[in-house]
């Protein structure tokens, strides 16, 4: 008898376990279906909310308001373009007059300039004087400039010639800028 009772209890247990499994499975299925439907609905509504159509309509209205100012708009573009380019030019162009001005200040009054050639990279100065000390003063002044890296970086004495017939000293100096 006891063996039979045990068998019946096991069968009920199995049946209850099976029903529980079915319930869980049904619940999971319902959750899955509801989840998919709900997610789909939320996404659909979100798309409707973030839809840029209304913004695009507003854009068109602003564009209509801007169209009478098109001339001004183009001129402002030109203006900004010119300013940008002019700044580039002013930042890169060399002002040789400043360098020449500095050099002229260093040339003694008794020295006459025969030739002064300056480009963006170098300067060549040729001059003459009856006094050797004036030539010396001129060379010293340029050496000071080169030492202080003031406009001139390096200096080369090309020639120093004495014309005995005229009693004139000629000097030619090249400087790297």
């Amino acid at each position: 008898m006891s063996a039979n009772i045990n068998l019946l209890l096991q069968s009920d247990k199995r049946s209850l376990g099976l029903q529980k499994k079915i319930k869980i499975l049904n619940f999971v299925a319902a959750i899955c279906l509801a989840g998919v439907l709900l997610t789909s609905l939320i996404i659909f509504l979100s798309i409707r909310i973030v839809n840029p159509e209304s913004i695009k309509k507003e854009q068109e209205e602003v564009l209509k308001s801007i169209s009478p100012f098109q001339d001004k708009q183009i001129k402002l573009f030109i203006l900004n373009n010119r300013i940008e380019n002019i700044y580039k030019i002013l930042a890169t162009r060399k002002d040789l007059s400043i360098i020449t001005g500095s050099l002229l200040e260093k040339i003694p009054a008794q020295l006459s300039i025969d030739n002064l050639e300056i480009d963006g990279k170098s300067v060549i100065i040729a001059g003459q004087s009856t006094s050797l000390s004036v030539i010396g003063e001129f060379i010293n002044n340029l050496i000071d400039m080169a030492r202080e890296k003031d406009k001139i970086r390096s200096l080369t004495l090309n020639s120093l010639i004495l014309d005995e017939s005229r009693g004139v000293y000629s000097v030619s100096i090249k400087g790297e800028l």
């Binding site: 299925a29 996404i43 839809n51 913004i55 480009d119």
Partner: protein, 231 residues
């Protein structure tokens, strides 16, 4: 024993009846997964795209509103004056008359005695739209002293069109100054209605003010509002 499974209708019905409670929920789960893959995932993509488009549209609208505000506040007369000054300083094309005016104005101011000079026109058919600045070279002979030549170079550097002296050759008899006059074609402005328009900065206004004090700009009467673009 040949590996075949002999399943008759009764056996299938038995299996179906035994597993009947599992079939429906499993089918629903399977359908849910298929729906998720087929519809929800593409919808997420659409949502992201719509969100991005909305973001861009809002940004564009903001730019347009800002542009409208800037344009409403710009004074037309001041703007015309500023464009003229800047186009004189950096012409969009070869401005021979501007160059001649600048040279003669500088010679008048400094008392430099000019010799005859010529322009190098260059290849007109060549495209000049690039990052560098095209120039017109003019070699100006000057029959004056060292100081006058230097003053001439200084004066022309403060005259429009903008130029750069590349060579100063001062001799005992005559001197030569090589000048490069800048110009820059506008090229493609990349003009678009939704490009942000920047109002003139203080730096830009200062530049225009400085340029308006340069030589060769006297032909333009400066309006009283020249230093401010917002009126």
């Amino acid at each position: 024993m040949n590996g075949r499974v002999n399943a008759d209708i009764k056996s299938l019905k038995f299996i179906f009846d035994k597993n009947k409670p599992f079939i429906v929920p499993l089918a629903i789960i399977l359908i849910s997964i298929i729906l998720f893959i087929q519809f929800v995932i593409p919808q997420i993509g659409s949502l992201l795209k719509a969100s991005q488009e909305g973001k861009e549209a809002r940004l564009k609208l903001e730019i347009l509103k800002d542009n409208l505000s800037v344009l409403k506040n710009v004074n037309q007369t001041t703007l015309d004056f500023q464009v003229k000054i800047l186009n004189l300083a950096l012409p969009p094309a070869k401005d021979f008359s501007g160059i001649l005016n600048a040279i003669y104005l500088a010679s008048l101011k400094t008392g430099a005695n000019l010799g005859s000079f010529s322009f190098k026109v260059g290849d007109i058919s060549k495209s000049e739209d690039g990052p560098s600045f095209p120039t017109i070279k003019v070699s100006v002979p000057i029959n004056s002293g060292v100081a006058t030549v230097n003053n001439f170079v200084k004066t022309i550097s403060e005259t429009v069109p903008l130029s750069e002296a590349s060579l100063i050759r001062i001799g005992s008899i005559s001197s030569t100054v090589d000048l490069y006059f800048y110009y820059k074609p506008l090229g493609a402005l990349n003009y678009s209605q939704d490009t942000r328009i920047s109002p003139l900065t203080q730096k830009g206004l200062t530049l225009i003010k400085n340029l308006s004090e340069f030589g060769n700009t006297s032909s333009f009467a400066q309006p009283s509002v020249a230093t401010s673009s917002s009126q």
